[in-house]
């Protein structure tokens, strides 16, 4: 049973990466890492699967295309066909600019919303754990611990260069 988190703070992204990799390889449970900028290789070190936002984005973009094209065709051919200079009602090239814009709009705004929901970010949300320096220059690894192995895990991260180690309750 997990009770607490061991918060290990590192000086450099390299130390964090090697500690994270070692923690994962030795079977310890990585709760999360906290870094001031996206550290290259973190995905692999933490063993996090590739984000599926791309799929979400593609589906939302397709929805945008379908909505825009469907609506424009319905309006121009069914709801109220307007004869403008004898041009065909279902002139597809003329419908492309709006279709494209709505594709981008749906994909961009929708993917952002999905990202916010998935990452539990919203206006007024509180940061999970209050961590000193995680948005400035500290590289923090949070490992799950329980009563038995707290000491051992603290030693493990200290051996790998953690400048500061402390324990907090699981949020």
């Amino acid at each position: 049973m997990t009770h607490k988190l061991c918060i290990a703070s590192f000086d450099s992204p390299e130390d964090l990466l090697s500690a994270t990799r070692a923690a994962r390889e030795s079977g310890r449970k990585i709760y999360d890492t906290y870094v001031p900028w996206p550290v290259h290789g973190l995905e692999e070190a933490m063993g996090v699967a590739r984000s599926r936002l791309g799929v979400v984005c593609f589906m939302l973009g397709s929805l945008g295309v379908a909505t825009a094209l469907g609506f424009q065709l319905w309006v121009s051919t069914r709801s109220w066909p307007l004869n403008i200079g004898g041009k065909p009602f279902d002139a597809l090239p003329a419908l492309i600019p709006i279709t494209f814009e709505l594709m981008v709009l749906f994909a961009a705004v929708g993917t952002i919303i999905v990202f916010f929901i998935r990452s539990r970010l919203w206006p007024g949300a509180q940061p999970g754990i209050a961590l000193e320096g995680a948005t400035n220059d500290r590289f923090i690894l949070a490992l799950e611990t329980n009563a038995d192995d707290a000491e051992e895990i603290a030693g493990f991260v200290r051996d790998r260069g953690a400048a500061e180690v402390r324990e907090v309750d699981l949020p």
Binding site: M46, G54, Q72, I98, L102, P123, P127, N136
Partner: protein, 471 residues
């Protein structure tokens, strides 16, 4: 990666090496300190211009667009010129943030935040002009397809003006979202540094509870990549659609297939000129010379030069095809541009957009901020005139000589343009005060040198005595 190895390959992106926390301190300083005197002067000058614009727009809406110099021949002039001008300005921001991101141009990190802010403010300014041109702006919602009791009678989806509504509003929305996504980590940085409770609360709400979680960062990077991928064709599409407003008409000088690339290149050209104008002022006033280095100015000048050449090619094309087409109206237009009543505007345009930017071939010019500043102002003027030339010269001599007319702006139109600059700079000055002007997390990821916080804060007090500490 080993930082010294990187530096051997490429010159560093900041002039003097900075640690991560020094970068945070430097960039947050203008947000946390009291504004300087020059900020107040600039801000109140902008607000004054904005107020003049607001009064004149109110007058125009209350009276009607008869307060402008338009007539039944020249139905588009000053207002639509301003619209195209501001939309064009808005192109550099997304180009820097999205296209240069996809091309992995790391120097973009120092300028992308302010360029994106500039984009949003410029598109806001642009949006005002078609709106007030309607004469009855309270009916602007008629531009959108909404269920109504008139049939429902829908808008004409085959009209470029309707495409424009969708393009501009999508562009504004997506640019604003993209900008805010970029801001999130930096807002959290400002929140975590805040000493007073009000600040902490406001930035706390604005930063959405960002805590730097690695899992979030991984998703965030994917999101940023996707948005860049979406914004790249978007930025090209927007000015393409704006050019369709003209290109699909039969008016000589408008009815042309080169308009989309010509307009997009012109937009990037004018946008970069505006970014240069703003960044040269901002790096000086905010003391960001260390981040927006001469190398950045140099790179932006090169893009400006390339787009200037594309624009020059387009001007040459227009003249060539006027002759080569053998079309009387086209060749009359070309001659009328160069020798007609608006010849001075045309000549100033060519001077500002083609001749003056050629100075940028010289490395010495590209690295002296003062000269670049004047060149960028010239380009801004030239690009405004380009839109004026396209719109007014084509319209004022149409197919029927009996309907030929002249055009000169009234004080209301000139004042409205002044007001739009007021709005733009008011927003920009506020932005400089309340948000980090440089993307802190991104700059750190490309430029921070390893070092601990204590050493860093000791150094920064040494480096800049008397201004390192904040309450």
């Amino acid at each position: 990666m080993n930082p010294s190895a990187t530096q051997a390959l490429r010159p560093p992106l900041v002039d003097t090496p900075r640690t991560a926390s020094q970068i945070t301190d430097d960039i947050c300083r203008p947000v946390e300190a009291m504004p300087t005197a020059s900020w107040y002067v600039g801000f109140f000058a902008s607000v004054t211009a904005l107020c003049i614009g607001a009064v004149l727009v109110t007058h125009e809406i209350a009276t009607g667009i008869g307060t402008w110099g338009l007539n039944s021949t020249v139905g588009w002039a000053w207002d639509i010129t301003n619209f195209v001008f501001w939309v064009g300005i808005g192109h550099a921001g997304t180009l820097i943030s999205a296209i240069l991101f996809l091309f992995r141009q790391k120097w973009r990190t120092a300028v992308n935040r302010s360029a994106e802010a500039m984009t949003i403010f410029a598109v806001m300014c642009a949006g005002i002009f078609p709106l007030i041109h309607m004469g009855r702006p309270w009916l602007a919602f008629w531009m959108f397809p909404y269920p109504n009791t008139r049939g429902p009678l829908w808008i004409n989806f085959r009209s470029p003006l309707v495409w424009d509504v969708f393009a501009i509003s999508t562009y504004l929305t997506v640019s604003a979202c993209f900008w805010y996504i970029g801001l999130l980590p930096d807002l959290a940085t400002v929140r975590d540094r805040a000493r007073n409770r009000v600040r902490k609360f406001i930035y706390g709400i604005m930063s959405f509870g960002w805590d730097g979680s690695g899992r979030t960062w991984i998703r965030y990077e994917m999101l940023y990549l996707l948005l860049a991928g979406l914004a790249t064709p978007l930025v090209v599409s927007v000015h393409t659609v704006v050019s369709f407003d003209f290109a699909t008409a039969l008016v000589p000088g408008w009815h042309s297939t080169i308009f989309p690339p010509y307009f997009v290149a012109g937009a990037i050209f004018s946008g970069f000129a505006m970014v240069l104008t703003l960044m040269i002022i901002a790096r000086r006033v905010m003391r960001f010379e260390n981040y927006v280095t001469l190398r950045h100015l140099d790179a932006m000048c090169k893009i400006t030069l390339v787009t200037s050449l594309i624009v020059a090619l387009a001007y040459a094309h227009e003249a060539f095809f006027a002759w080569y087409s053998g079309n009387n109206y086209e060749s009359f237009l070309a001659i009328n541009r160069m020798r007609g009543p608006f010849a001075p505007e045309y000549l100033v345009m060519v001077t500002c957009n083609v001749l003056i930017p050629q100075l940028l071939w010289s490395k010495r010019v590209r690295t002296s901020p003062l000269i670049i500043f004047f060149i960028s102002i010239a380009i801004n003027i030239g690009m405004w005139l380009e839109r004026f030339v396209i719109i007014v010269i084509s319209l004022h001599r149409d197919f029927l000589p009996s309907s030929w007319a002249d055009y000169s702006p009234t004080y209301v139109e000139v004042g409205t343009l002044l007001g739009s600059f007021g709005l733009f700079f008011t927003c920009f000055f506020l932005f400089c005060r309340v948000l980090p002007m440089i993307a802190i997390a991104e700059v750190k990821s490309v430029a921070a040198t390893p070092g601990s916080g204590e050493v860093a804060s000791a150094t920064i007090i040494d480096a800049t005595p008397g201004e390192g500490e904040k309450p």
